[in-house]
């Protein structure tokens, strides 16, 4: 099962031959359209030139977008599971002095740690463990 992990990732990263063929054919057609457009301009046929150039450039733009989207999809699907950073707050029960550090295995809320308070030499307790999430989107108007 474990060996299949990298296999599945590489399988998804592999470019499909049909997709590649479509991309190449469309690319060829769009280049042909641009060439035809240039030729039409040279023959002073402005209307045909405009049409072919517009067609060629639009197709090229759409093709580039499609390729980037496919690449993004592959990256999204094969991205690993990120570890979310957690913050542990250690507090002195006597003077209330706080110390913040990253979460370590074995930490739990209300645990008495071996760490001593630099002010009153009391053993400090873990007061909180949480993760902070930064909201990406602005507040919606309907909230």
């Amino acid at each position: 099962m474990g060996e299949k992990m990298s296999e599945s990732v590489s399988q998804e990263r592999k470019i499909s031959p049909i997709f590649l063929a479509i991309v190449l054919v469309v690319l060829l057609l769009s280049l042909l359209a641009i060439y035809q457009g240039i030729e039409a301009y040279m023959n002073n046929d402005l209307s045909s030139g405009n049409l072919f150039i517009t067609m060629g450039i639009t197709t090229l733009a759409l093709l580039t977008y499609m390729v980037f989207q496919t690449r993004r999809r592959v990256l999204r699907l094969t991205a690993g599971m990120p570890m979310q950073p957690l913050i542990t707050t250690i507090e002195c029960p006597k003077c209330g002095m706080k110390n913040i550090r990253d979460f370590q295995r074995g930490d739990y809320i209300f645990k008495e740690t071996e760490q001593q308070c630099p002010k009153c030499n009391e053993k400090m307790n873990i007061a909180s463990i949480y993760r902070e999430v930064k909201e990406k989107r602005k507040e919606a108007p309907y909230s």
Partner: protein, 374 residues
């Protein structure tokens, strides 16, 4: 109308590109007319395939984490991989509900058997793990099991849909996939939290109870539940939660029922605090109150509280801390942690409003107490 004229010129003149475009246009028209549905099915199949690959990735990573953690914490003599693979195929058959009489007790018995079996299996896989670690490993393996089941069910419908090329099977699968992917991501996140013993969003209720009972003597009652007698606003509060800091939910319903019986039903208020699912648009960590038993899961515990409360006419109130399904099984968010203090203020207000001085009350903090002591 420049474009049709120019395209028509393609037929009339030697314009090769015009011919090609015309031909391509007719081909696309004909293909879409006869094979539109099939193309749509293929596009959907491709989308499902992508999600299936992601699910496989999550399942495999979850399994790898499980194997590594068991080797690290449990220090088994042999390789536990084969046993873990067996565990990931574990299933439980729900009791017969055709004759509903007594189904709750039969379900509870099955859940107890399952729990004992899981704990025994974890102890065999990780003999050196202490009690807290055993509980965490058990929950971690349950998350890995859930990922495996999700992957297999989706794969089943994907292959079935591909074999029959039925648009409707594929369409149903594709429509439900965003919800399934969200659930799978939540399980993957939970798996990591259980591995490291981090408090999760579901522990919001247990956190509130832990804050209230801190500094008071605790006694262990019904399966994995601790109770402390805490004086609050001149009342005696029986505050209870699952025993932490290992991953544990215990049997809060049974404990509440026992406390009601021990006090001959003289309980003026039972308050249940739990994490509740928020609706889209609501903020995580919002606190809401209502009536009823706020205990999730297979409902056996909820039933016991309802039964005990009905027998002695004990009013049951609930306070929930809102969060989404992902937050419930992911490491606890700051908003949810901070909501604990607001919930305590609400508890105090409710006690003052709904009870008299000298009364006895029950405050139950429900949820998985992983990473939360007492």
């Amino acid at each position: 109308m420049i474009m049709p004229q120019v395209l028509l010129d393609g037929f009339a003149s030697d314009n090769v590109l015009g011919w090609i475009i015309q031909l391509a246009f007719f081909l696309v028209f004909v293909v879409f007319m006869f094979y539109g549905n099939r193309i749509q099915t293929y596009i959907m199949v491709r989308e499902v395939e992508g999600s299936l690959i992601r699910l496989r990735l999550m399942r495999d990573e979850g399994r790898k984490i499980a194997v590594d953690t068991i080797k690290e914490l449990g220090k088994p003599q042999g390789d536990p991989t084969a046993r873990i693979d067996q565990f990931l195929e574990y299933f439980a058959i729900s009791p017969v509900s055709l004759d509903p009489a007594g189904v709750i007790w039969r379900l509870e018995h099955l859940l107890d058997v399952r729990d004992v079996r899981f704990k025994d299996d974890v102890k065999l896989m990780a003999p050196q793990a202490d009690e807290t670690q055993t509980n965490n490993l058990e929950n971690m393996l349950e998350a890995a099991l859930a990922l495996n089941i999700i992957y297999k069910v989706i794969r089943h419908y994907y292959i079935f849909g591909k074999k029959t090329l039925s648009l409707y099977i594929i369409m149903q699968l594709q429509m439900i996939l965003p919800l399934i992917m969200r659930e799978a991501e939540a399980y993957a996140s939970a798996l990591k939290a259980f591995t490291h013993g981090q408090p999760i969003g579901d522990g919001a209720g247990a956190l509130v109870a832990a804050k209230l009972m801190r500094g008071y003597e605790k006694t262990k009652v019904e399966k994995d539940i601790v109770v402390a007698k805490v004086p609050i606003e001149g009342r005696t509060a029986y505050v209870l939660k699952a025993e932490g800091p290992g991953a544990n939910v215990g049997k809060p319903g049974e404990a509440i029922k026992q406390i009601i019986e021990q006090n001959d039903g003289k309980i003026s208020l039972a308050l249940v605090i739990d994490a509740g699912l928020k609706l889209e648009g609501e903020k995580p960590g919002e606190v809401a109150e209502g009536v009823g038993v706020a205990i999730g899961g297979p409902e056996t515990e909820k039933y016991k509280v309802e039964e005990g409360a009905l027998k002695h006419k004990v009013p049951v109130n609930a306070i929930i801390i809102k969060e989404d399904v992902g937050d419930a099984v992911s490491p606890m968010r700051k908003e949810i942690f901070d909501a604990g203090d607001e919930a305590i203020q609400r508890i105090k207000r409710l006690i003052l409003e709904r009870t008299k001085e000298g009364d006895s009350i029950i405050i139950a903090g429900v949820g998985n107490t992983i990473g939360i002591g007492q």
